[in-house]
Amino acid sequence: MKHTHNQINLGIKSVFLPNNALQGEDIPTFILWKDVDYDQIIIKKYNCCTLKEIYNVAENAYEISDNQILINSVEVEGYLGLVFESTRSESLLIETNLNYCFMKKGDCVIESKHDLILFRPELEVKHTPKSLTIEEGRITSRKIELQNIGEGTCHLRFKASENSEVKITQPKRLREFFNGFFKTFNEEVKKVKTSYPNDDWIFEDLLFLTKTTFDPSNKPLMEEINLRFKRLDEAMEDHEKLRKDIIRIFTVSIFKNINIITVMEQFIEYLQSIAKNRVKLINSLDSIQLTQGNHIIELELYYTDLLLSDIPPIKLDPISITSDADVDLSIYNLFNWTGGQ
């Protein structure tokens, strides 16, 4: 990773700080040096992040003051590592920087400055129609318009509010597919887990994550998902055989149930679940059933980012839907996506 160094001498071997990260993501950084004459290292940070972890420094060998961390000594010469915690901010983009200063008798003798941009997604409603018209099974009036005005992925779930006359439901064939998939999945997990007698928790996490409906409106559930997701990911990363076994469980479970849902249906679901600017629809194939005539739908949009952050939902004003016939309409049809890719 390229950084701008402003070094007075060549004692620094390597410095790492990411140049971009999602708001809320941990920001790791380190510096390696050799033959530097210094009596203190000062790390200056602007407009971001709190110290989360510090490596190779004894507990009593550093202080935190305002936007600075003062390191009086490291345990083993030549290496300092830190992890900062970034937080979600009001601003979509935060431009910040971090500055390593090697001090000698109060002067900065080596300086290394690095820029960092912290970004986040945000969903904005660009247009909410008062009414939608459906003719011959298609929406012919201006649709609901949404846009990710920030950067980064949004996972979005549509819900109808409790008072909504029109409800959102999962199609029967999708339900059948899920049932078959989970049955096979359970069987495959049982077979594989015998090879990992000390790691029951891995398979509990795997079953939980596969069976749980991802629902950003349920905060405790999302916290549970986040915890298990990170734990499972770490286990998969640290163990190649386990990783391969888990991939196999998924592959077998999908292919044994391929007859329930067609390749074409799957492909359409895949395509329709991807909106613009990295917005991914969780329940794109869920549908609304309408009879001929007028109905009122009250929609709530729950979304989160890839860190599964808690983001306030968007509640749309009631929309009147008029259909010329009985119709079963997939939810993605109600929306138009604006903005970039």
């Binding site: 345990e75 899920f178 359409i268 395509l271």
Partner: protein, 323 residues
């Protein structure tokens, strides 16, 4: 400060188990002069090697048999230094005593020896206590590379007790999100053709079936993809085979490529046609001399999109605005 709570204590305890083992082994070899104590953690294989170099002290009588009570060793060998000749006869496994070094079977003139013992790592979460590893969850919209980093949490207890420590094959799984790129390239007309094809298969209403069949034929002719939906899907699947996809990846810095595989999202309907992302496995090593590493995984998006676009006949191609 929080680092004590973030696994360091546990980490030291776990690494401490290995260090204690090295200490105990050194104690068993007290008739010798221990000249080097090293540990190699083979992360993806889930085991570790202890390497002990020792030499015969001149003029000191030897214990003829040295018993090392390790019973779960996956491998152990003894080699003479500096020739690295394997001393098979001088090492045996015994049910009751574990690893036994029998010096009666040591050739004359050998005075420097390397003992290597490989044991399993029992704790699955061992590494997170020793090393902080991180990969970027996703880059900014116009960026196609993902940062990766690994760093030892604390060096001192390791440096104090070991002459060398090598953590080998630390795996890093980056999620390269490809679905937005795929969606943007697939022509709307082709998606419509698929939808009509699906409705045609599902409807039981004869009149509706006829009307859908007519629309499907019209779309297929216009798209120059008559009867070819499945072939298109096959071509996409081919492009996304790990052996093909790896040509769109570039590793920069101190990490090396290992593998990649297709993955769906836990958060949506399981996919069996097209993956939501490719998970790319790259690796790095850490040593006491190189306690922190950085790397970058670059996804060659432009090349990927160009090849993807070739799947569709020219008339159906979507003109993308390229930055």
């Amino acid at each position: 400060m929080s680092y004590e709570d973030k696994g360091l204590k546990v980490g030291i305890r776990d690494v401490g188990e290995i260090i204690n083992l090295v200490d105990r082994l050194s104690g068993r070899l007290n008739a010798f002069n221990v000249i080097g104590r090293g540990v190699t953690l083979n992360v993806s294989q889930g085991n570790f090697d202890i390497e002990l170099g020792f030499e015969v002290r001149p003029g000191r009588p030897l214990n003829r048999v040295v018993k090392i009570p390790i019973f779960d060793a996956q491998r152990a060998n003894l080699t003479s230094l500096p020739s690295f000749t394997v001393l098979d006869d001088a090492l045996i496994f015994d049910e009751n005593d574990g690893i036994v070094l029998s010096l009666d079977h040591m050739p004359d003139g050998v005075d420097s020896i390397l003992l290597n013992i490989r044991c399993p790592l029992k704790h699955r979460r061992f590494m997170s206590m020793l090393v902080n590893k991180q990969v970027q969850i996703e880059p900014r919209n116009d960026v196609t590379s993902y940062w990766m980093t690994a760093q030892f949490k604390h060096l001192r207890p390791l440096r104090d007790k070991l002459d060398s420590l090598r953590v080998e094959d630390l795996d890093f799984l980056v999620r390269v999100h490809i679905e937005q790129n795929i969606k943007e390239i697939i022509p709307h007309a082709f998606i419509r053709q698929l939808e009509v094809g699906r409705d045609l298969l599902q409807t039981k209403d004869r009149e509706k079936k006829q009307s859908l069949a007519r629309e499907h034929l019209r779309l297929a002719q216009a798209n120059k993809l008559v009867g070819n939906e499945e072939k298109v899907i096959e071509k996409i699947e081919d492009l996304l085979k790990p052996s093909n996809f790896e040509s769109y990846l570039d590793l920069i810095g101190q990490f090396y490529y290992h593998d990649c595989f297709q993955a769906g999202s836990f958060f949506r309907v399981p996919n069996f046609v097209i993956p939501s992302m490719m998970r790319v496995v790259s690796k790095t090593n850490l040593t006491l001399e190189e306690p922190a590493k950085e790397g970058e995984l670059k996804f060659k998006r432009r090349e990927f999109e160009d090849n993807f676009e070739e799947i569709f006949p020219k008339s159906t191609k979507k003109r993308k605005k390229r930055k």
